[in-house]
C-alpha cells in the first residue's frame, strides 16, 4: 500500500526539485502522446526545446524568446506578490488590455508629433491604465468585501469590449479604409518601442521585466512590505498581530500587479504588436498565472519559468510546421507542465509511505 504522510516541515529539496521533475515528466508523457500521434517523440521534444535555443536558426528564435517571455515575466512578477499574500488577481489579461489602450491612446493622441516625450508619457499611460483597472476589484474588496477573483476575472471581459470598441471606433486608423485597428505604432517613431539594439529582441519591455525581477527580489527579501506579504500568506492571524494593515496590502498587491500588467500591455502594443486591434490580447494575462506558479512565486523562478513557457510556445509552433503536430497537442503539452507541477508539489508537503497501514 502507498499512502501519503504529511511532512512535519515542507521539504526544501522537493520545493526546488519539483519544477525540474515536472519538466521531465512533461517530456516523458508529452513524448508518449506525440508517439501515439505517430510522430517521433525524440525529434518532437528536440524540436520544441532545442531548436529555438541552439538550432540552425537560433539567431532568430533567441530574440523571439525575449519578446514572448518579457510580458509573461512582467505580469507574473506582479501576480506573484499578491498570490504570496493570498490576494488573487485573476484578471491580469484585462489590466494588460487597459494598459495597452491607455498607453496607445496617449501615443495616438500625440500623432504625428515628433518628440522624445511621447514614449515616456505612453509608458505612464500604460501603467496608469493597468493600475486603475486593478483598483476596481481592490476598492470593491476593501470597501464591500467582494471576491477579487470574480471581480478581476469579469473585468477581463469588460476590457475586451473596450478593446473592440476602440479598434472599431475612437482609435481606428483614419487611413485604414474603414478596416478595424489603429495606426501601426511601429511606423510612428516617437511612439515605437523598438529593439534597443536592432534584431536583439531587447525592447523596453524586456528591460522592465528584468528590473521588476530585481525589485521583487529585493522587496521580498529585504523590505518590511515583503515581510508583510509573506507573513500574511503563511499565517494571516500572525500577520494581524504583527501590525500588517490588510487593506493597504490588498491595495498594494492588486495595484502593483495591475500596473505591471498594464506596462506589459503598453510595451507590447507599442512594440511587437504595433496596433490596437480587436484580437490584440492573446492570453498573456492568463498564461502568466501558470508562469507565476511554475516559478514557485519566486522572482528568479518566474524569470526562468517565463523563459520556459516562451520556449514551448516558440518550439511548439516550429513543431507544428515542421512535424505537422496539431496545435491542440502543443496545448496539451503545455497543460501537462502545470498539471505535473501541481502533482509533484504534493511531495513538498507530503511524503510517500510504502507498506501496510496500521489500523488505528
Amino acid at each position: 500500500m502507498i499512502r501519503l504522510e504529511k511532512r512535519p516541515q515542507p521539504s526544501r529539496a522537493f520545493s526546488l526539485a519539483t519544477p525540474l521533475l515536472a519538466v521531465l515528466a512533461t517530456m516523458v508523457f508529452g513524448g508518449l502522446m506525440f508517439a501515439l500521434l505517430g510522430k517521433d517523440p525524440v525529434t518532437s521534444i528536440i524540436t520544441i526545446f532545442w531548436q529555438p535555443l541552439f538550432g540552425e536558426f537560433a539567431f532568430y528564435y533567441r530574440p523571439q524568446l525575449l519578446i514572448k517571455g518579457a510580458p509573461l515575466v512582467l505580469i507574473a512578477i506582479g501576480l506573484s506578490l499578491g498570490f504570496k499574500a493570498g490576494i488573487w488577481n485573476i484578471g491580469a489579461e484585462g489590466q494588460y488590455i487597459m494598459g495597452a489602450l491607455f498607453g496607445a491612446g496617449v501615443g495616438l493622441a500625440f500623432y504625428p508629433l515628433d518628440s522624445f516625450i511621447v514614449f515616456p508619457l505612453m509608458v505612464m499611460g500604460g501603467a496608469f491604465g493597468g493600475w486603475i483597472w486593478a483598483m476596481i476589484p481592490a476598492m470593491l474588496k476593501v470597501k464591500f468585501g467582494t471576491n477579487e477573483i470574480l471581480v478581476s476575472l469579469m473585468l477581463v471581459y469588460v476590457a475586451e469590449q473596450f478593446l473592440a470598441s476602440m479598434s472599431l471606433g475612437l482609435m481606428k486608423n483614419p487611413e485604414g479604409f474603414g478596416f478595424p485597428g489603429s495606426r501601426n505604432l511601429q511606423q510612428y517613431e516617437s511612439a515605437f518601442n523598438a529593439d534597443l539594439i536592432e534584431g536583439s529582441g531587447m525592447h523596453w519591455g524586456v528591460v522592465a521585466a528584468l528590473i521588476a525581477v530585481i525589485f521583487a527580489y529585493v522587496l521580498l527579501t529585504k523590505h518590511r512590505l515583503g515581510f508583510a506579504i509573506r507573513v500574511t500568506g503563511e499565517a494571516p492571524r500572525a500577520a494581524r498581530f504583527s501590525g500588517v494593515n490588510p487593506t493597504r496590502l490588498v491595495l498594494f498587491c492588486l495595484g502593483t500587479s495591475g500596473l505591471l500588467a498594464g506596462l506589459a500591455g503598453l510595451f507590447e502594443v507599442a512594440g511587437p504588436a504595433g496596433q490596437v486591434t480587436i484580437d490584440f490580447n492573446v492570453g498573456y494575462g492568463f498564461t502568466a498565472i501558470i508562469v507565476a506558479f511554475l516559478g514557485r512565486l519566486h522572482p528568479v523562478g518566474i524569470l526562468l519559468a517565463g523563459g520556459l513557457m516562451a520556449l514551448t510556445y516558440i518550439g511548439g509552433d516550429i513543431a507544428q510546421s515542421q512535424l505537422g503536430l496539431p496545435a491542440a497537442a502543443i496545448q496539451v503539452f503545455q497543460g501537462m507542465l502545470l498539471f505535473f507541477l501541481l502533482a509533484f508539489d504534493l511531495l513538498t508537503n507530503y511524503r510517500l509511505r510504502f507498506g501496510r497501514t496500521e489500523v488505528a
Binding site: 539567431f59 528564435y61 479604409f177 474603414g178 539594439i197 486591434t277 490584440f280 492573446v282 507544428q320 510546421s321
Partner: protein
C-alpha cells in the same frame, strides 16, 4: 562585439536561407498560416481544404506546411519568419490581422512570395486575395426574402467591418426586392468563432420573431439553434454545413480557395508569379453556392439559380442602382454599379436597414 558577430552570422544565414531556394530545390514548399483550428468547420477548414487540394494537384512536387491557431500580431510574424527560414517558397497568410506582419516579413525575405487574404497592403512579393462573398449574400437574401413568413430576418454579424457590412447590405437589397415588407434584425457577436455566443445570438433573433437566420460567423451553432426552434431556416457560412440540410440549412456560401491556391502555387513553380490583387466571386469559382435544398419552393430555387447565373456571367452586379444610403442620400444612380473601392471600404448601411453600425 559578440552581438555584431551574431548579427553578421544572422545576415549570412538569412542570405543562405533565401539563396537556397532561389536556385530551385526539388520540392516547392508552400506554407499556410491559419488563424483558427483546421477543424473549425468554417473559415480555416476551407483554407485547409485548399491546402490539401494543392497537395493533391502537385503530389510529390510540393510540400505543404501549416501552423494553426496563430494569434494575429507578433506570433504570426514569428511563424511566417520561421516558415521562410525553413525554406518556404510561397506563404499564404489567411487572416486580415496578418496584414502588417506579412508586409514586415516579406521585406526580410524578398525571394519568398507571400499571399495575404482579405488585406489591402501589397508589395513586390506580396499579393492579396479575397472573395466576393457579397455575391453569395445576394442569393441568400433572395431566398430569405422569398421564404420568410414573419418578414423578420435575423442576421448574426461578427465585427462591424466593411466585409460584413457589405454582406448585410447585399442580402438586404435582394430580400427587399422580392419582399418589400422585410425587416432585418442584426446582432453583433464580436467574434468570428464562438459557438456559445453564436447560439445565444441565434436564439435572441428567433425569439424576436426571425424565421430566417443569416450568419457571418463560422460555427454551426446557429444552425443547431434553428433546428431546435423548428420552422427557422439558415444558410451555411464559409463551409457547406451540409449536416444541417435539408432544413434548417437550405443553402450555403462556400469559400473555395482551391483553384486560387493551385494557380498561385503553379505560378511559383513556373517562375511566373507576380504581385496581384485578386477579388474573385462566383464566376471564377472562388465563391460557391451550396446545394439549395427541397425545403425551398421550386420557383424560388429557380430564381435563385438564375440570379447566380447572371452574377457569375457578369450580367448582373449585386450593387446596381438606384440605391440610397441609410440616411436617404443617393449612392448609386439608376443602372450604376458600385466600384470596388467603395465596396472594399463600405461603412454604411443602405436605405431601409434599421439601427446604427456600432462604433
Amino acid at each position: 562585439m559578440k552581438l555584431t558577430k551574431l548579427l553578421t552570422s544572422a545576415a549570412i544565414a538569412l542570405g543562405l536561407a533565401t539563396a537556397a531556394h532561389a536556385d530551385g530545390h526539388e520540392k516547392t514548399k508552400v506554407g499556410f498560416v491559419f488563424v483558427g483550428p483546421v477543424g473549425d468547420g468554417g473559415w480555416t477548414y476551407e483554407h485547409n481544404q485548399g491546402r490539401l487540394a494543392v497537395e493533391e494537384e502537385f503530389g510529390d512536387a510540393v510540400e505543404t506546411v501549416f501552423v494553426e491557431n496563430v494569434a494575429e500580431g507578433p506570433d504570426s510574424e514569428r511563424v511566417m519568419t520561421q516558415m521562410a527560414l525553413d525554406g518556404a517558397d510561397l506563404i499564404f497568410t489567411t487572416s486580415f490581422g496578418y496584414m502588417d506582419p506579412t508586409i514586415n516579413v516579406a521585406k526580410k525575405f524578398p525571394d519568398v512570395k507571400f499571399e495575404h487574404a482579405t488585406g489591402y497592403k501589397r508589395a513586390d512579393n506580396v499579393s492579396t486575395y479575397s472573395a466576393r462573398f457579397y455575391e453569395g449574400r445576394a442569393i441568400q437574401g433572395h431566398i430569405a426574402g422569398s421564404m420568410t413568413k414573419s418578414n423578420i430576418i435575423g442576421y448574426i454579424g461578427s465585427y462591424p467591418i466593411p466585409e460584413v457590412i457589405r454582406g448585410i447590405n447585399s442580402a438586404y437589397i435582394h430580400a427587399k426586392k422580392v419582399n418589400p415588407d422585410v425587416q432585418f434584425k442584426i446582432v453583433w457577436a464580436y467574434t468570428w468563432f464562438d459557438p456559445a455566443k453564436e447560439a445565444d445570438a441565434a436564439k435572441v433573433l428567433i425569439e424576436q420573431g426571425a424565421d430566417v437566420v443569416l450568419q457571418h460567423t463560422d460555427s454551426t451553432a446557429p444552425q443547431a439553434a434553428a433546428q431546435e426552434a423548428g420552422n427557422v431556416i439558415t444558410f451555411g457560412q464559409a463551409s457547406d454545413m451540409a449536416q444541417y440540410a435539408p432544413t434548417p440549412r437550405v443553402s450555403s456560401i462556400i469559400d473555395n480557395w482551391a483553384p486560387y491556391y493551385i494557380a498561385r502555387t503553379k505560378a511559383v513553380m513556373d517562375g511566373t508569379w507576380e504581385s496581384t490583387d485578386t477579388w474573385d466571386g462566383i464566376g471564377p469559382g472562388m465563391v460557391g453556392i451550396g446545394e439549395i435544398t427541397d425545403a425551398v419552393p421550386a420557383e424560388v430555387k429557380e430564381q435563385a439559380l438564375a440570379l447566380k447565373e447572371s452574377i457569375a456571367s457578369g450580367a448582373y452586379h449585386p450593387f446596381t442602382g438606384p440605391i440610397n444610403k441609410q440616411d436617404g442620400s443617393a449612392w448609386l444612380a439608376e443602372g450604376e454599379t458600385a466600384d470596388d473601392g467603395t465596396l472594399a471600404g463600405m461603412n454604411f448601411y443602405v436605405e431601409g436597414i434599421e439601427g446604427d453600425i456600432p462604433q
